[in-house]
Symmetry: C2
Subunit: 357 residues, 2 copies
Amino acid sequence: MSDTYAVIMAGGSGTRFWPASRKRRPKQLLPLAGGDEPLIAATTRRLEGIVSASDTLIVTSEILADATAAAVPGLPRQNVLAEPIGRNTAPCVGWAAARVARDNPEAVIAVLPADHHIARPDDYRAVIEQAIAAARGGDLVTVGIQPNRPETGYGYIEVGDAIGDGVHRARRFVEKPSRSRAEQFLAAGTFLWNSGMFFFRADAILAAIRQHLPGLGEALEEFDEAAARSPEAEAECVAARYGDLPSVSIDHGVMEKVDQVAVVPGEFGWSDVGSWTSAWHLAEKDENENALPADAIVIDTKGSYIQAPAGKLIAVVGLEDMVVVDTEDALLIMPKARDQEVRDIVEALRARKDERL
Amino acid sequence: MSDTYAVIMAGGSGTRFWPASRKRRPKQLLPLAGGDEPLIAATTRRLEGIVSASDTLIVTSEILADATAAAVPGLPRQNVLAEPIGRNTAPCVGWAAARVARDNPEAVIAVLPADHHIARPDDYRAVIEQAIAAARGGDLVTVGIQPNRPETGYGYIEVGDAIGDGVHRARRFVEKPSRSRAEQFLAAGTFLWNSGMFFFRADAILAAIRQHLPGLGEALEEFDEAAARSPEAEAECVAARYGDLPSVSIDHGVMEKVDQVAVVPGEFGWSDVGSWTSAWHLAEKDENENALPADAIVIDTKGSYIQAPAGKLIAVVGLEDMVVVDTEDALLIMPKARDQEVRDIVEALRARKDERL
């Protein structure tokens, strides 16, 4: 019976990384931070010494379950929770918490996104351990990232009074702000980015779910009753009920509604790897700021990110600040500055029911 | 016994079209003028009604012989003359002329490069028929292209007195000129581009070869003696002697040295398909001047040439005047204006003995 578990949320479809990411091979299964290690494998490896693979649950979609299990070394197959349909993060966290509670209701769960990059894992582990310790007493805890720019793409957390060593009261959660509000937040110095990492005891989050999302709470009790009969019965119950669960994030559905949330500020080179340009930022680059295959033939090219299958020869002349992503069946070429338009491409593929989506 | 033959010169390696062209798949085997038809197939098809496939010889290198035969519908396999080593065009033309002379020494041979594009084939055929008729009397005849720009990449022919219907004396051949000389030629109006197309009776060119390239003349007599024994004996003789033949063009080695060369001026939308930009010029383009696969997803892109294997999805954002050539094992991206730098890429591949050459 362990007293610390990890729950990795790995349901993302990662349309911003097309054509490397696909419906069946999303962002978290790709080595987007350089090297060969998929982001999800890096996520579990970073927890070494804090949570073992056997105490790590990964929640993902049914079509990704096998690929996800294969991507994480040492992960028992039954630790992959396959959602029949995506319902945002509250049902995902609730289901995993119910599983953990059957082993040990007082165990602390570290809920972590599968697709982030951490530049300084030792600093990260220190913060995670603080957050786990803070959750041990029953608080719902989040980690907030010290912002270094007025980012409008993230939610923020306003920090309140200190309540322990490195732990503060969270005064409030704030939605993705306008540019001017983001600048105020940065200037104020009391706002952190909401990292999407949460820490709580299984019994604490389940109690909060019962209070704030009672429909989900009831479904989780049904899951428990079915699981008491057999794993097959649980799977049947999940298949029958999941589609009707509320599609809401654990942030909105629970954390923001709870009075006493704690926040641990962290600074460990966090990146949510949100675009090809962020992949370029994270990648190893040559003297011309290019990230590209070692055997590429490169003439007068700089600031570019080029990815291709092994064995494919890349030859480029006169590129500047471009993204080139080549795969077996698709090739994307665009300026780094326009990387958000990948969404438009994916939308066009969806509209024409292209199987290369 | 036919009185008109075609000899297609198809030995080129086409490094300017890497990565579509390769050592084993050069320019003439590619559909570079749009559609699915390789340039060499278009070359033979254009002669329909003038020369039949059974009277067409193709001279190419041994490693390309099978692919060349396969690329030309209806071509008898024995009509492919496989050179053991490339020795420029004089030995190629001489060998083919010796073959033809065994059938009919007085037959006229149309010697044509395999890799040109002709926009107006009817006009072309009319010129070819004039040139064949002019050669019937024993003259060595060339076709000169009416220039429309001061091109420095071609040789020129100065036109002399008219000697028949649409036929002139060729005053002299001129090497690739400087820009200022090319401008003078264009202004003078009496200079034509040397198209590399030649027309002569088999006995006439063989006599000229014996006079101006006696070493080649002797070798061709040996080929004849061996061929009289068996096709295998000819092949052995060719294998033994070809490497020692003078590596010289039929232009320099013979045509320029002959007093009485005739020239037929022609204007039929001729292009030597010399670069990716010329392929773009020849290709069908959309309203934004892009030549690209029909199912490509294209955002804010113009003036670009994009080629990819069937089934490969291309998605581009914000490209302008670019060339993108994607193949199974190599990808080239460059501005159209820098398409000559393909040679540098090929040179780099050669230097590192890359098998994707």
